[in-house]
Symmetry: C2
Subunit: 223 residues, 2 copies
Amino acid sequence: MNISANNLPTHELVYRRIRELILSGELAPGQSVTIHGLVSELGVGVTPVREAIRRLMAEGALEFRGNRRICLPILSSDLLDEVSFARKSIEPHLAYLATKRLQNKDIDQLYQIDEALNGAIASGDVRGYLQHNGQFHETLYAHSDARILMAISKSLWLRVGPSLRVVCGRFGTANLPDKHSEALAAMREGDAQGVADSIEADIEQGHEAIRRSLSIGNTRDVD
Amino acid sequence: MNISANNLPTHELVYRRIRELILSGELAPGQSVTIHGLVSELGVGVTPVREAIRRLMAEGALEFRGNRRICLPILSSDLLDEVSFARKSIEPHLAYLATKRLQNKDIDQLYQIDEALNGAIASGDVRGYLQHNGQFHETLYAHSDARILMAISKSLWLRVGPSLRVVCGRFGTANLPDKHSEALAAMREGDAQGVADSIEADIEQGHEAIRRSLSIGNTRDVD
DNA sequence: CAGTAAAATATTTGATCATATTATTGAAAA
DNA sequence: TTTTCAATAATATGATCAAATATTTTACTG
């Protein structure tokens, strides 16, 4: 299988592909990947795959285990606390900055994403929920125009994404975080602090679900 | 076989070398690096250099400019605000966590680093100042045992390091941030919040110096 | 002739691949 | 059980490609 769209370099395409596999839940926490496996699966050379993996490791999306195993990290309770702290430090601020720049059409767009998200929750579509949930946050934050904070935020999403997926697969789409309506209402009123607070509550809810899941059992049987 | 055979892979060594070049100020903001330049300078192959660069780009230590130029990013005022916010969100917390785990010998060690730092300031040794300043923070944070927050912090240091170096080169070691004695006193008393506050003040001071430097003129090569 | 714009050429630089090397794992044989 | 050996996988190198930049040459205008 060859990767197309030859506008971008191969290593970039490989990076995006693996990132997508992680965020969509096709790769689960603890699951391992091999360089040669990706090479043959994607039909590309070794070098671009190595670069993409190195980049993802720097972002915390992949990690070394043992001496020759690259796999998705498993979020322990302590690590989840770290991610939680970092997300609650960064993302509400991104939401705050973004709100001050939002135009009505931007809010409309976010509203539509949230509608799709609600539809996914109602129909128990885990994959749709994950996709639209991520899209909602990313689209909002993008308006902040804060490159560095965005990069940190994206890295944190890569760390928490796989675990969130596991939770959804286990408990379904009921009781999932959705403070988005609250956030949208605050956006309509231009209440930046209100949006920031809603986002913080949203993060808290999501992490609470993961935490409950952690206390019940391990993330997944590994090897 | 030799247990201490500390044979690190080439890409790791290259990564550390470039990182050191950046943190020590041998590479200035805006300065460009080339893959082949590093290949011939370090006497290694192209792949490990590419991997190291990709990793450093993910950490924000290097960036693309134009379509074919890799260089150290220049911190604009806006970007500095972002780094400042992120550092003040993360590092005081790391200091807080670390303080709760500090033993007397750890504080002694930090005290010695601070002594060396003061010596460097007194003698106008910019390089020594930078080295010991970084060492002080990193050694303290390491006790927090918070891998993810540490990784974020290190990335932020890579972003701000080069600019701090330029400031020192321009204004000398006078008026440099040093809230370390304050932090050390709080450590002795086990006052975690006090340490966190001192660290925040230290960060604020350092960034204020950079901000002043930015308002005077654009960053230029040093030495 | 002088000066500038355009075209052609050379050089630099990142991107990719095929291949060789090294180290670890796991299975087979002693 | 221990040793040996093959399979596997990461690591590393240099050659080659393509795109972008720098340089030189050429051509045209005033």
